[in-house]
Amino acid sequence: MEERNDYLDKVERIFDGELDKSHLRDDALKEDAAFFEGMIEALGVEELERGEQALEDIDIDRIDPDIRAQLAAQNKKLSTAKVRKLTPIRRILAIAASVLVLIVSGLLLWNKQTNSPAALAEDYYLDADLPGTMSGGAVMEENFQAGLVDFAVKEDFETAKIAFQQIGDDSPRYTEAQYFLGHIAFQNEDFVAAENAYTNALAAENLPGYIDRNRVAWNLMLAQLANGKDIEEALKNFLPTATPFDEMARALLEELQ
């Protein structure tokens, strides 16, 4: 059954566009490929049948010209809408968000042994929270600010790592620096360093408002999973929490079992 799931995973990735379709010629995949094709066609047939029933008393050739004109105008407005120029702060955060999405997507595309602890940890990994503002109010320590810009904007994780590592445990930014070091280590697949950094971040009594304690605990647990530790008890602690952690915990428990 385990072997069959491997094939199913591979076929799923082919149909998701992550792997080239030429792999489908592989004999071992043919059965699952037929299953997938059947599934996709059956989904289409069912959805269209549902729609066909809903259209029984509807004349699709009679269109209200006013509604049509209104929608065409809306479409034109949305299609030609100028891209609003972002403020520097928003631009930095937008770039940071895109970078993080790309990094996580990249990690997922790396071909890992299916269902290995590292692959599972990466599957369930959550992106880094980022502060809502990078200036104003208190002046940030130079290293922290530099590290954040290197991490979120320049994608220069090695330089960011050095900057964050210079923030000692006597600094008010220590917890945040450890949090970002955890993310950098996880992305570098250095799960031992990730576990240490997240443990340090989680040890703080008070986390800054933009960092979700559950998210830190969740990613710490995934680093532990990647390090081969038993996380079932830790996972069960997430079951009474709010979504998405309860849903993910339930799903991950199922996969582990």
Partner: protein, 156 residues
């Protein structure tokens, strides 16, 4: 209709059209989308839409595309009647198994594989809170369906 909803339907429509009607020119697709959306808006106001908006819009568009292609040799692969009659055994088996799958799983798989929807769209459709949740749910649903098919094969 607010802009966000408009864009959501448009994105769903183009995901589906790109997958199933890739040979149709862009400006025709746009016309069909606006026609389908106008029909949806009108009937929705009258309370006559009994299915999800995306299902309704795509079904209207499907018929419109069929009308456009009428007489041409290249018909949409998924002509409902023909498809139902011509499903090979494996596909028929999957179709029967699909009826046993829960609605949430069907919604996720339909959005992903029929509408070609993005992870963000599926999150909105299903109320999932993260991409990781959607990914995991999708995998679980596929395995569930496969398990049902395997059971049915054994029973046969």
């Amino acid at each position: 209709m607010n802009d966000a909803t408009f864009l959501q339907y448009k994105q769903f429509f183009y995901g589906w059209a790109q997958k199933h009607w890739s040979g149709i020119e862009q400006h025709i697709k746009e016309e069909v989308f606006l026609d389908a959306l106008a029909i949806y808006v009108e009937y929705d106001r009258q309370g006559k839409v009994t299915v999800k908006p995306t299902t309704f819009i795509i079904s209207v568009a499907h018929r419109k595309f069929q009308q456009l292609r009428k007489g041409q040799t290249q018909e949409l692969k998924k002509d409902v009647a023909a498809e139902t009659n011509e499903l090979p055994i494996q596909k028929e088996l999957v179709r029967t198994a699909l009826k046993q799958l829960d609605e949430k799983c069907k919604a996720i798989l339909t959005a992903k594989y029929f509408y070609n929807a993005s992870m963000e769209d599926i999150m909105q459709e299903t109320g999932a809170k993260s991409r990781a949740v959607v990914r995991t749910q999708k995998k679980r649903c596929i395995r569930k369906l496969k398990a049902i098919v395997v059971e049915m094969q054994k029973a046969a």
